[in-house]
C-alpha cells in the first residue's frame, strides 16, 4: 500500500507488523527444518513452535496444550464447531447460533443442519446483541453447542460473552465463540469467561494470512477433521506452517500489549471519525451498538445511496473501506448482518464500514471526514430517492 493511500479496512485484513515479520524471517530462511525431524535443526524449530504456542496461550490466559494451530479463522470455526459436536456421544441434537455470524460459522452450522442436526439461528436486537432471554428460550434439552461471534465483523457489536456462557453452562451446553475480530481488540480471558472453544486468526491482528488457532478448554475432546500424520496433538494433521505459527505467536503477544498501548488511541480516532460522519449530513445512522462495539469499528449508514458506489469513489480518492452492500459481494445479497439488525435491503446498501488500525493517523481521519461527506452528497444528487430525487 503506497504511503499516500489510506487503509481503513482492518477488519478485512491487517498488514503484518514489522516486528511480527522480523520474528518470522528466520523461519522463512535459515530455520526451515521440519519440526518433526530429530536432528538439531528440527528440534530448534520444535522449540520455537512451543514458544509461539505459549505466546498464544498466554494472551488468552490459557495453557499451551489448549491451543491448536490451524490454517486460519475459517478452519478454527469449522474445527471448533464440527470437531466438538462430532466428538459427543449423541449423534444428533440441536445447535444454536445467531443470524449475525461470519459465513465460516453460518455455513458450518448449516452443514450440521444438512446432516441430521436441528439448528436455530437466533435473532439479535437492533444493536446486534443476542438477548439472554431469547437465548434461554432457545436452549433445548438436546442442545449440544451454542456458537456466537464475540465481536461482529460487520457492525462491530461485542456480545456479553460471560453471561451467555454462564447461561449455557447452567444448561450444560458447550459454547464456541468466533473471536476472530475480538482478539487483540478487547481483553479476552478464557478462564474468566469460561468459554469451551474459541477461534482466532492471524491476519486480523497484524499477523500473517493462512494461520489461525483454536482454543479448546481442558478436558474437552474434539474429533479431528483433517486426517494425517497426527500433528497438533493428533487433532489437526499437516506439516506445521512454521513461519505462520511464529508470526501468530508474536502477533498475539503484541496484540495483548496493544490493548493498553494502542487501542485507546485507535478508539479515540474511531470516536472522532464516527462523530464527524454523523454530523456531516442528515439521515446518517450508526449501525451496531453505540458502546458495546469493537473499538476500531465505525459502521454508518447513509440513506439514499449505495455502498459500492461509495467505496469506488473512496477508492479513487485513495481510501480503502468496506460496505454492507450486496453490490460489492459475489452473491449480490445484502449483508445478512445488516438485515438481521432490522435494516431493509435498501438501507443495508448504503452502509460504510471503516475499521481503523494502529497505523492510522489523525490526519487520515481528517481526510476521510472530508472525503466521505462530499461523496455522499454527490451520490445523493444522482439518486432518485430522498433528497436527490425529490
Amino acid at each position: 500500500m503506497t504511503k499516500d493511500r489510506i487503509y481503513m479496512d482492518h477488519s478485512g485484513t491487517t498488514p503484518i507488523d514489522p516486528l511480527v515479520l522480523e520474528a518470522m524471517m528466520p523461519f522463512l530462511t535459515k530455520n526451515y527444518a521440519n519440526p518433526s525431524s530429530i536432528y538439531a535443526e528440527g528440534r530448534e524449530v520444535r522449540t520455537a513452535i512451543d514458544g509461539a504456542r505459549q505466546q498464544v496461550a498466554s494472551a488468552l490466559n490459557a495453557k499451551s496444550n489448549n491451543i491448536i494451530f490451524t490454517s486460519g479463522g475459517t478452519e478454527s470455526d469449522n474445527l471448533g464447531i464440527l470437531g466438538s459436536v462430532f466428538s459427543l456421544k449423541e449423534k444428533n441434537g440441536h445447535i444454536i447460533t445467531t443470524t449475525i455470524e461470519h459465513p465460516a460459522v453460518t455455513r458450518t452450522v448449516e452443514f450440521l443442519g444438512d446432516h441430521g442436526y436441528d439448528t436455530t439461528f437466533l435473532p439479535v436486537n437492533k444493536f446486534g446483541q443476542v438477548e439472554l432471554d431469547v437465548l434461554a428460550d432457545a436452549i433445548r434439552d438436546d442442545t449440544r453447542l451454542i456458537s456466537i461471534v464475540y465481536g461482529n465483523n460487520e457492525v462491530g457489536t461485542v456480545q456479553d460473552m460471560k453471561e451467555i456462557i454462564k447461561l449455557a453452562h447452567e444448561r450444560d451446553v458447550l459454547v464456541h465463540t468466533d473471536a476472530v475480530q475480538a482478539v487483540a481488540k478487547v481483553p479476552i480471558d478464557v478462564k474468566d469467561i469460561g468459554v469451551d472453544l474459541l477461534s482466532l486468526s492471524g491476519h486480523k491482528i497484524y499477523g500473517p494470512k493462512g494461520i489461525g488457532a483454536l482454543y479448546v478448554r481442558d478436558g474437552l475432546k474434539i474429533t479431528p477433521l483433517q486426517h494425517g500424520g497426527g500433528h497438533e496433538n493428533k487433532l489437526r494433521s499437516g506439516t506445521e506452517n512454521v513461519p505462520g505459527v511464529i508470526g501468530l505467536g508474536k502477533a498475539m503477544e503484541m496484540g495483548e500489549t496493544g490493548l493498553t498501548t494502542e487501542m485507546p488511541r485507535v478508539k479515540a480516532m474511531r470516536d472522532r471519525l464516527l462523530k464527524g460522519l454523523m454530523e456531516a449530513q442528515e439521515e446518517t445512522y450508526l449501525n451496531g451498538h453505540p458502546e458495546k462495539r469493537l473499538p476500531h469499528n465505525a459502521h454508518v449508514r447513509f440513506s439514499y445511496i449505495e455502498g459500492e458506489a461509495l467505496l469506488l469513489n473512496l477508492d479513487m480518492l485513495g481510501i480503502a473501506a468496506a460496505t454492507g452492500s450486496a453490490c460489492s459481494s459475489k452473491s449480490l445479497k445484502a449483508s445478512h448482518v445488516l438485515l438481521a439488525i432490522g435494516l431493509t435491503p435498501e438501507q443495508a446498501h448504503g452502509s460504510l464500514r471503516l475499521t481503523l488500525g494502529k497505523n492510522n493517523t489523525d490526519e487520515e481521519i481528517d481526510n476521510v471526514l472530508e472525503a466521505v461527506p462530499a461523496i455522499v452528497k454527490k451520490l445523493r444528487a444522482m439518486s432518485p430517492l430522498g433528497h436527490g430525487g425529490q
Binding site: 449505495e306 469506488l312 452492500s325 453490490c327 449480490l332 444522482m382 432518485p384 436527490g388
Partner: protein, 122 residues
Amino acid sequence: MYSKKVMDHFMNPRNVGEMENPDAIGEVGNPTCGDLMKMYLRIENNIIKDIKFQTFGCGAAIATSSMITELAMGKTLDEALELTRDDVADNLNGLPPVKMHCSNLSADALRAAIEDYKKKHH
C-alpha cells in the same frame, strides 16, 4: 474489476440529474441488487432531444445509466428502442459477469420511458 470506460462513466456520469417537465419518465428497479433507475426524456418529432438519469445503485448501475444516455441522445424513438443491454455493456468495454444481469438495467429504463411517452401520446 471494472473497465476504464466503466470507471470513467461512473466517476463522471453524463447527463445525470433531474429534468424539469420531462416529456416522459421511465423507472425500473431490480429487487435482487436493489438498483433503481429513473430516466427522463425530452422528445421533439420522435427524436430524443435531451435525456437525463438518476440512479440509486452500484458502480455498474451508474455507468450503464450514463452510457445509455449517450447512446440514446439524438436517436429516434424507434432507434432508441433497439438499444439492448448488450449494446450498453459493449460500449462500456464489458461488465463483470455478475453485474450483467443485475445492474445493466438502463436499456430497460430507457424503454420504460419511451413507452411512457407512447402511452401519453397515443
